[in-house]
């Protein structure tokens, strides 16, 4: 879903933009699965699809844009960062809302708890946040207010900025990334080993050549891996990739265009999300407890995000970047009737050779 301007130190929705759906089917019957899935998607106003890819531990569907959205009626805007978890017939919708004033109705027999917190910057560091504030228990008859202070360790942190450009190179555009480190990882004493990565979802109009990049660099490559098929023969929506990149200030990856369906424009314009650029670090063992008990931690066992590909003790240092999309034109054929001319030229060629074969020189070879 769309990211929103909230304090990302606490609320961590560093997903790629657009629609991401991850599913663990509870049936082996493909038809039943699609029926059930499409019914659910229809319920929340999304179109069903059969373009799933097999991701790490779930089926995964993604579109760079959220095309249909009907949850406004429930007060959930298209721009809200949110998770929809559907399990055992129950739907849980998690959404971020930056409204300063919110009314809550007390209901008898229903316990509600509201917390109001601020980050205590005086004693917080970028790796250890202290939230200071109050919890209000709304009991129906009597309310209890508790002063509360707690310590959280964010899984996702910021380290600098990155700039991603798609450099034109015909059918093989190059994805160039430049990194600007604004902080030094060495300040963080709780880190063990670190490595820079790029996580990206690319549409089926492109592919990465896994042999060109090599297994050492291409850590994860889910989706249709065919190197030759045109995009109109690829059923899946695209590819989910995790690349280990050199710990340098710039890197370049060549992506390859598939052939597109002919159209009168002579080109197909494709947009897709920029890669998410980050450094992943293992946390020292004694720090894991805080990380895993952060009530705001958004890491799920399944999910369309890069963190599912790492262990629970991994923290991520993100490079911020504008959330606009990459766009590229792929040339394609215009529908043209070339049958007759091709056949005519073929005929001319055959006649030229046949003439030599049959008429002119037969005797001289005897």
């Amino acid at each position: 879903m769309k990211r929103q301007e909230v304090d990302s130190r606490v609320f961590q929705y560093e997903f790629g933009s657009g629609l991401h759906i991850s599913v663990v089917p509870n049936t082996r019957d493909e038809e039943v699965f699609y029926q059930e899935m499409n019914d659910f998607l229809d319920l929340i106003g999304l179109q069903g699809s059969d373009e799933w890819i097999m991701s790490y531990n779930s089926l995964y569907y993604h579109t760079p844009e959220v095309r249909d959205w009907t949850l406004e009626g429930y007060g959930i805007g298209r721009e809200s960062a949110l998770d929809i978890n559907w399990s055992n017939g129950q739907v849980v919708i998690k959404t971020l809302n930056d409204q300063a004033v919110k009314e809550y109705q007390q209901e008898t027999g229903v316990k509600k708890e509201i917390g109001v917190f601020l980050i205590d910057d005086e004693i917080s560091t970028k790796d250890d946040l202290v939230l200071s504030g109050v919890r209000i228990e709304l009991m129906g008859q009597e309310d209890y207010i508790h002063r509360t202070l707690f310590h959280i360790k964010p899984r996702i942190r910021k380290i600098g900025e990155s700039e991603v450009k798609l450099v034109s190179n015909g059918m093989h555009p190059k994805l160039q990334t430049n990194y600007e480190h604004k902080q030094d990882l060495d300040q963080d004493v709780d880190l063990e080993s670190c490595q820079k990565y790029q996580y990206m979802t690319i549409p089926k109009e492109f592919f990465l050549d896994k042999y060109q990049i090599g297994n050492n660099q291409l850590v994860v490559n889910f989706g249709n891996l065919d190197l030759e098929k045109p995009s109109y023969l690829i059923k899946e929506w695209g590819t989910e990739l995790l690349l280990q990149v050199p710990n340098q200030l710039a890197n370049e990856i060549e992506i390859h265009s598939r052939y597109q369906t002919p159209n009168n424009l002579g080109k197909t314009t494709i947009s897709f999300n920029k890669p998410i650029n980050f450094i992943a670090c293992d946390l020292a063992k004694d720090e894991e407890y805080l990380l895993q008990n952060n009530p705001f931690d958004n890491k799920l066992s399944i999910g369309a995000n890069f963190d599912k590909l790492f262990t629970n003790k991994t923290v991520f240092y993100l490079f911020d970047q504008p959330h606009d999309q990459l766009q590229v034109d792929i040339p394609n054929a215009r529908p043209t009737n070339v049958d007759l001319i091709t056949l005519s030229v073929l005929f001319v060629g055959v006649v030229i050779i046949l003439k030599r074969l049959l008429l002119k020189n037969k005797l001289k070879l005897e």
Binding site: M171, L225, G266, L354
Partner: protein, 463 residues
Amino acid sequence: MRIVPQPVIKLIPYHDMVLNRLSVRPFVDLLASFHNVLIISTLLRIILILYSEWHDAHSVVKYTDIDYRVFSDAARFILHPGPENKAQGILGAALGVGDPYTRQTYRYTPLLALLLLPNEWIHISFGKYLFAGCDILAGILIYKLLVSTVLPSVRKPSSDNSSPSSIIRQASLLTSIHLLNPLVFSISTRGSSESVLALFVLLTLYCALERKWTLAALALGLSTHWKIYPFIYGVACIGVIGSERGMGKGWKGWLRSVVNWRTVKFGLISAASFVGLNVLMYLIWGYPFLYESYLYHLHRRDHRHNFSPYFYLIYLTYPFPGDSIPELSFWRQVIRSPLTSFLPQMILSLGGGLVFGRSKRHLTFTWFVQTFVFVIFNRVCTSQYFLWYTLFLPLLIPQLKMTARWAAIYTAVWFGAQALWLSEAYKLEFIGEHVFFGLWVRGLVYMVAHTWVLAGVMNAYLG
């Protein structure tokens, strides 16, 4: 007044004149020694392979051909079997080897991957040295054929050019056309395996011209196993074998000459060689071998741009999902059928073998024509395919009656048609311009131009 006999090759006098005018005589003298040609060719290849390693380490645009990575990966897969990478034949399980077809786009015989196993054991460039070595061996075969068979047969005893030293000098110069051909040495040092097949084909020709038909049949089977197209040479071989004991009159006589014990024996041995290798490969690597090496080619649709103008037809008529398929008229169905290219290609290349393959003397020319036709009318064509017939040029040139002027014109047209196409392909591939239509037009120009050049060469041979 004494009438000077017209030389068989008109190139020679022009040749001398041009050489003197261009002051390249020292260079030509250098290449007149086959020993020198071999040393220069070998050094050139070693330097280029060493350069390729340096270049690839320092440049984003690699010197090494993408196919070399495919072969090397396939060799690695054979060496390192795993749960997802096991030879699927009956013998494969017992041998405990991996499956080269685990590597996507590997569509060659497993023998190629086996040859490149030392890429893993010794050095990643081993295969390039092997391919370069095949180039050199092919050069040696060409030289031997020129000295023993081709040049003595086209020289008149009274001519100055018939002396042994002159033959050796000319053979050396002609061999250098192959060994110092930039297309040849760049392709092998970039890691393309064409030189291995070229060596097998030349070995077949050598055996055939030496009348060692059993060996020729075995080599033909090996060549056809390596890549399917050399089967067309079998037709010409059968024609030559049949004609060795004289041709009968009429079609019955012709039939008796092509269907007799000697031709059947040749056919059986070459088929046994081909089938035997395939059975062995199938027993080890199973269905993936059969599919990737052969069956895939029966239904492949080459929609991506290549020299053949068919690519555009295939691209435009791909069954697009969601398209309502309109009813096509009969003749349009005919045009779009794969048979439309297959039939003329087979009729002309096999027909060429039958028409010209009547004498050992004409075998090189026959194979050249068959291959040239096969490449022109193939549904897919890349630069490497041109090597399939340019291989025969050093052996053919002494037999052509062609002036240097016409030779220059044909060469220019041959290269020009390619350059025209390549310049447009560059715009698509590396600039991203919408030039599919232009590429198709240039593909048509290529087809006509190369057909015209072939016709010119046929005229020059046949007079």
